[in-house]
């Protein structure tokens, strides 16, 4: 990748990371809007999917009756294996008309005063839509891993908590979740990785505009969707190498985000162990 990006690396330097204009005609390449787009879509996707998937996993492994547990568990694991283009198509066919017809106009009229949800909307194809599709995509991954970690908690742990007079919810929260949290965080990081690198489903729903307006209902672009959009017809050495350099940046961003996430997990887990005492 370094070799592929060698023509554009020295030419743009740090301007590549902070430039906001992507203009192949005039040979100006900056990917700041795409870096922001990638981080924002993945972040919102996690905000939506983490409570949802952990809730689903807790329900399935701790509270659901046995006849419901296995079938629903299988369905969730199946969803994790569905190719992303299918999610993208679902987004295009179901979510986009919904956003276009009701959600976006409502958000605009209710919160249009804030720059976060104002501005022109992209006909249902925007950063929020892509984030929701990503959330739906990573939910099965996170909840499948969470379910496995919860299942790995020894039964003694629950029985001990219950016998001390804990309610069912208290037992889940204090004994089970705390015991399984490393696995759960692992699942979240796995989901984050999938969201950061996702290409197809995002390209189909994000609106593909090489700018980041700050509004969630405006079209945007992520690094991977920009590569997918322009790589096939890219002509000229500099253009192609700029696209390869995006790949390099994406790799670095993913690495960085993962390191930060790991550090967070490490801190939380260690801090928890001290506070937990017993």
């Amino acid at each position: 990748m370094f070799t592929g990006a060698s023509p554009s690396l020295p030419r743009f330097g740090l301007r590549f990371l902070f430039g906001v204009v992507w203009d192949p005609v005039h040979g100006i390449f900056g990917v700041a809007p795409e870096i922001l787009g990638t981080l924002v879509t993945s972040g919102i996707a996690l905000l939506i999917s983490v409570p949802l998937s952990i809730g689903a996993a807790i329900f399935l492994s701790e509270h659901a009756p046995a006849w419901l547990r296995d079938p629903v568990g299988y369905v969730i694991e199946l969803l994790a294996a569905v190719p992303s283009v299918v999610f993208g198509f679902w987004g295009l066919a179901v979510l986009v008309p919904l956003m276009q017809g009701s959600v976006d106009p409502w958000l605009q009229s209710a919160f249009g005063w804030s720059p976060l949800l104002g501005g022109p909307n992209g006909g249902g194809r925007n950063i929020l839509t892509a984030s929701v599709v990503l959330a739906v995509m990573v939910t099965p991954t996170i909840s499948a891993v969470t379910r496995e970690s919860l299942a790995a908690v020894p039964r003694d742990q629950r029985e001990a908590a219950l016998s001390l007079g804990a309610t069912r919810w208290e037992a889940t929260r204090l004994a089970v979740l705390r015991y399984a949290r490393t696995g759960i965080f692992g699942g979240i990081i796995l989901g984050l990785g999938r969201a950061l690198g996702e290409t197809m489903a995002v390209t189909m729903t994000i609106g593909n505009k090489n700018a980041f307006s700050g509004s969630l209902i405006s079209p945007g672009q992520t690094m991977s969707s920009l590569i997918a959009n322009e790589f096939t017809e890219a002509t000229g050495k500099l253009y192609v190498s700029a696209l390869v350099e995006i790949g390099l940046v994406l790799l670095l961003v993913t690495l960085l985000v993962n390191i930060v996430a790991r550090l967070l997990v490490w801190r939380v887990v260690r801090g928890g162990a001290v506070a937990g005492g017993a």
Binding site: V21, W22, D23, P24, V25, H26, I28, L92, V96, P97, Q100, G122, G123, G124, R125, E148, A151, A152, P154, R155, D156, T203, M204, G207, N208, K209, N210, P219, Q221, A228, N229, E230, F231, T232, E233, A234, T235, G236, V240
Partner: protein, 393 residues
């Protein structure tokens, strides 16, 4: 994972009957997997033609490039009956096609745009064959308007620059035919987000028509679009326009005709009142009426533009696509080629520019006009194998 957990819990708790049932399921599962595998292998075998009598060909040629011509080349592949050769074309995009023919990993390339001077010098001895003409149609979504909406190049440029933002803008309304009243409503501009030959043609047209566009945006397979939203591929542009009231977009004429999308008429440069609807005839005549002289296959096509052809009734946003071959197949590919193989390749393309053109109209492609067929035939005759002329059959 789940079976490991089951085992784990089996050691700490008395075995429940569910665990026993799970173990006995392994047998049937293996059987099902085996059956599925056999079915897949049979399907592959059928698809690959292992089960049927195989049509054996001596030479197989590979091409790569433009997605625009893919349906046409695919039809040629199916209809070209020759015992000596078969052709496999991959629509990977013009940029990738040019790269692959330059690297000599394919036998021919196809591009929606002519080679630039740099590209041409990188692939020395390359020949360009104009093949298949295309128009770019302006599609829109205005449910209340019954007549065909008219556009001029200047108006289109201002819409795409974001300076005309409402359908009832006086600059747009004043050019409409009597009885066509455009509603008040904002214009949603839609463009191709992926690099595309269609964008190349369309932005070239806007550059020719509007000085501001030329200076600030320019032309290319992907540009820095000043306004609007992007959609990946012709199909996404079409569906975005179809589902967004007040949207405007541009797609290949071939795609617009095949999918029955509403498109507008565009002003012909010869007369202020001549608004031409894109059809196979109006696109074909634009090429036939080209005022300059076409170079030969070895010449420079970079400056050839058939935009704004001046004949009455010519559609202004038209372009050519190009096939790329090396002039001397012996020097280009070395020992992997023989005279007979070179002859088979030339015979195939000769068939494509003559008989192959009869498949164009049904697929909504503009058949190659006679003046270009003559140029292609002459270029084909100039091809050599290690310096020897290749007989065209």
């Amino acid at each position: 994972m789940s079976s490991a957990n089951a085992n784990q819990s089996a050691t700490t708790t008395p075995p429940a009957d569910t665990i026993v049932r799970k173990k006995s399921r392994t047998g049937p599962i293996i059987a099902i997997v085996v059956v599925i595998l056999i079915v897949i292998i049979l399907l592959v075998a059928y698809q690959a033609g292992w089960l049927t009598a195989k049509k054996s060909t001596k030479y197989s040629f590979t091409g790569a490039g433009s997605t625009f011509v893919f349906p046409l080349v695919n039809t040629w592949e199916l209809n070209y009956n020759s015992s000596s050769s078969s052709v496999n074309y991959q629509g990977v995009g013009s940029g990738a096609g040019i790269q692959q023919i330059t690297a000599k990993t394919v036998d021919f390339g196809a591009s929606d745009a002519p080679l630039s001077a740099t590209q041409k010098s990188a692939a020395s001895g390359i020949l360009q064959f104009p093949e298949s003409a295309g128009g770019v149609a302006i599609i829109y979504n205005l449910a209340t308007v019954t007549g065909q909406v008219r556009f001029t190049g200047a108006v289109l440029a201002q819409i795409y620059l974001g300076t005309i933002t409402n359908w009832n803008d006086a600059r747009l309304q004043s050019i409409q035919a009597a009885g066509v009243t455009l509603p008040s409503g904002s214009i949603t501009v839609v463009y191709r987000s992926d690099g595309s030959g269609t964008s190349f043609v369309y932005t070239s047209y806007l550059s020719a028509e509007n000085a501001t566009w030329k200076a600030t945006v320019g032309h290319g397979t992907a540009v820095h679009w000043p306004a609007g939203i992007g959609a990946k591929g012709s199909s996404a542009v079409t569906s975005t326009v179809k589902t967004t009231p007040g949207a405007i977009g541009y797609v290949d004429l071939e795609y617009a005709l095949a999918n029955g999308v509403t498109f507008g008429a565009v002003q012909n440069p010869s007369s202020l009142t001549d608004f031409v609807s894109p059809t196979l005839a109006s696109t074909g005549s634009a090429i036939a009426d080209f005022s300059g002289t076409f170079p030969g296959g070895a010449g420079d096509w970079g400056n050839i533009s058939i935009l704004n052809s001046a004949g009455a009734g010519d559609y202004p946003i038209t372009s050519l696509t190009y096939f790329l071959f090396y002039q001397d197949l012996g020097t280009a590919y070395g020992s992997s080629y023989s005279m007979a193989k070179a002859q088979a390749l030339v015979a195939w393309f000769n068939w494509a520019i003559h008989t192959g053109q009869s498949y164009s109209a049904a697929l909504y492609y503009v058949p190659l006009p006679a003046n270009l067929v003559a140029i292609d035939a002459a270029t084909l005759a100039s091809m050599t194998f290690n310096g020897q002329a290749i007989p065209v059959t």
